[in-house]
């Protein structure tokens, strides 16, 4: 071998990870059935009944993420050192194919646990394939991949077969070709160690060569041992492969994103046309990289002589990083604060988090109606604050109240904000006959804490939720099952590009009804909590 260079160990690590993933994957296959009926149960069984099952799953998942990262770094190293130049153009091309296969392998494995993360991350990914032009091709590719209009039993089986059969077969074939070419041409030398235009990898003097046995072999075995140790330590103490609750095609979690290595495509999609930015644009980037060695035919591999190529690649990395940031759910997707707040309080476990309301102990969910105003003022004055609030919303209101009955029914001169709230709750099939808030009992501190979180969230968005308040309504109509309704009420403001319009003094401009009164709005959502539900807060 021509020499040992630390940056040149990434290819070996990639190869090792292929075997690492194969071994951990085979162990997981023993306990897994690709059917929506049992896949998620298999996951739980691996965590609860299979000795070392969780560790194997963690290692497989961490190894998959690490593999995408290390193969990408290997590719970046190859580009920066100009190792793709003649005679190694085809080696570069097979490497690029291996990177793409690695990405798809990791992506196809995402669906297998059949949890919410799996279903929705893959739904986003598969919808890109649907955009392939012309439409007839996109539609059929989508049908071929998902096995139906939506991902179901057929889709899961297809992803499983791709993950354990088709893609690994391609990976092994191209790894073989890649290795053959590496051995054929030898490792390229670092650019500074070779004369411009010469490929001296095969002509390193005998006394300067590094021999496979024992030098390279011991280095490779050492790296295997160190990498495995790092993975084992991380997986035992620091890393758990995510597992969310069972896949539910009816419930789209807020803020779903594609896997991190496809975030750049998701970011690009936010720029415009789905076909161009989802399919054509990534194909152009991969295409340019694939033919780059045939375009860049200058003989020198030295950095100083390759300013354009290196600038291009650094710009590409920056561009992909920016696009990945744009792919995050918080970028460019405007969700109104009322929806965000209710989601933060009620969402089922996902991404290692759970809505703040769910972990409240069952006995602290005392039936009644509670209002955020209680936590705004003096804590000893809670009862008085709540009583005066009851009075305040019981007063006739002359402005427009945006509740189902008031917006569709005839104008009612005697309407009150309280009646509007009742109307909203009844519209949610909640059996209530009147609205009356009370103070949170002293033995329900967790309920009070969530009320405070809700109040803080509303206050933090006071430009949008003008005169806003929140309410938690807890009801129980059958044994061992309680229902929690959350309501936010506010005065509607004028919105421009998803943000409240401000006047010259920086205050939000209210939307007014035809009579010049502020419009009252409500937003509500609810959740049922069973006595035996076990949610754990962070």
């Amino acid at each position: 071998m021509t020499g040992l260079y630390p940056e040149f160990r990434l290819g070996w690590l990639s190869t090792y990870l292929v075997f690492f993933e194969t071994i951990t994957g085979i162990l997981l296959m023993v306990w897994y059935t690709p059917s929506p009926d049992v896949a998620y149960t298999n996951m739980l069984a691996m965590l609860s009944n299979v000795p070392m099952g969780q560790l194997m799953r963690d290692m497989h998942r961490l190894g998959a993420e690490a593999m995408v990262l290390i193969v990408s770094l290997h590719m970046a190293r190859t580009f920066f050192t100009g190792s793709y130049k003649k005679p190694r153009q085809f080696t570069w091309f097979t490497g690029l194919l291996l990177l793409a296969i690695t990405g798809f392998l990791s992506f196809s494995g995402y669906l297998l646990p059949w949890d919410q993360l799996a279903l929705w991350a893959v739904t986003i990914g598969a919808s890109m394939i649907e955009a392939t032009p012309p439409q007839i091709v996109g539609d059929n590719l989508n049908l071929l991949l998902r096995g139906g209009p939506d991902i179901g039993a057929n889709g899961l089986l297809r992803f499983y077969l791709l993950h354990v059969l088709a893609l690994p077969a391609l990976l092994f074939i191209f790894t073989g070709v890649h290795y053959y070419k590496v051995i054929l041409h030898g490792h390229s030398l670092p650019p500074k160690k070779e004369n411009i235009g010469e490929d001296t990898a095969k002509r390193v003097p005998l006394d300067k060569r590094v021999y496979f046995t024992p030098d390279v072999l011991t280095s490779e075995i050492m790296w295997i041992a160190v990498t495995t140790l790092i993975f084992v330590v991380l997986c035992i103490w620091f890393y758990d492969a995510p597992l969310e609750h069972h896949a539910d095609p009816q419930v789209t979690p807020l803020g779903t994103t594609a896997p991190w290595y496809f975030l750049w495509i998701q970011g690009a999609l936010k720029l415009g046309d789905k076909v161009f930015f989802g399919i054509i644009f990534p194909t152009i980037i991969l295409g340019v990289l694939a033919v780059w060695p045939y375009l860049d035919v200058t003989p020198s591999r030295r950095y100083a002589d390759r300013r354009f190529a290196i600038t291009f690649f650094l710009a590409l990395i920056s561009f992909i990083t920016c696009l990945s940031y744009m792919g995050l759910s918080k970028f460019g997707v405007e969700t109104s604060p009322d929806t965000e707040i209710l989601h933060e309080l009620l969402y089922p476990p996902q991404h290692s988090h759970v809505g703040d309301l769910l972990p409240i102990p069952y006995e602290q969910l005392v039936p009644g109606m509670y209002i955020t105003r209680q936590v705004e003022g003096d804590t000893t004055e809670g009862a008085n604050i709540v009583a005066s609030f009851n009075q305040e919303i019981g007063q006739p209101y002359t402005g427009l109240i945006n509740s189902p009955a008031y917006t569709t029914g005839p104008a009612n001169a005697k309407k009150t904000v309280s009646e509007g709230l009742l109307d909203v709750l009844q519209d949610q099939k909640l059996a209530l006959s009147s609205v009356s808030f009370k103070e949170v009992p002293t033995d329900a501190p967790e309920l009070l804490r969530v009320l405070k979180i809700m109040d803080d969230d509303i206050t933090a968005n006071s430009n949008y939720l003008v005169n806003g308040w929140g309410a938690i309504v807890i009801t129980q109509n059958q044994n061992n099952l309680k229902r929690a309704d959350l309501v936010i009420s506010w005065n509607e403001v004028q919105v421009e590009n998803g943000k409240p319009k401000l006047d010259s003094s920086g205050k939000p401009i209210l939307s007014l009804d035809p009579n010049g009164n502020p419009i009252v709005r409500y937003k509500t959502d609810h959740v049922f909590i069973h006595k035996d539900s076990l949610y754990f807060g962070h």
């Binding site: 260079y5 609860s48 000795p51 070392m52 050492m222 140790l229």
Partner: protein, 45 residues
């Protein structure tokens, strides 16, 4: 930049590799011993 990561001497490479391997086995053994408790805790949960 990463020259030291290569571990120049073959004796040192063997030592680092052996220590890593032994530690991996110790940690896996430790995890295996605790598997019963972990699985029981998960089932109870």
């Amino acid at each position: 930049m990463f020259e030291r990561m290569l571990v120049g001497k073959i004796e040192n490479r063997i030592t680092v590799g052996l220590i890593s391997f032994v530690l991996t086995m110790v940690f896996l053994g430790w995890a295996a011993i605790n598997e019963g408790g972990r699985m029981a805790a998960f089932t109870q949960m």
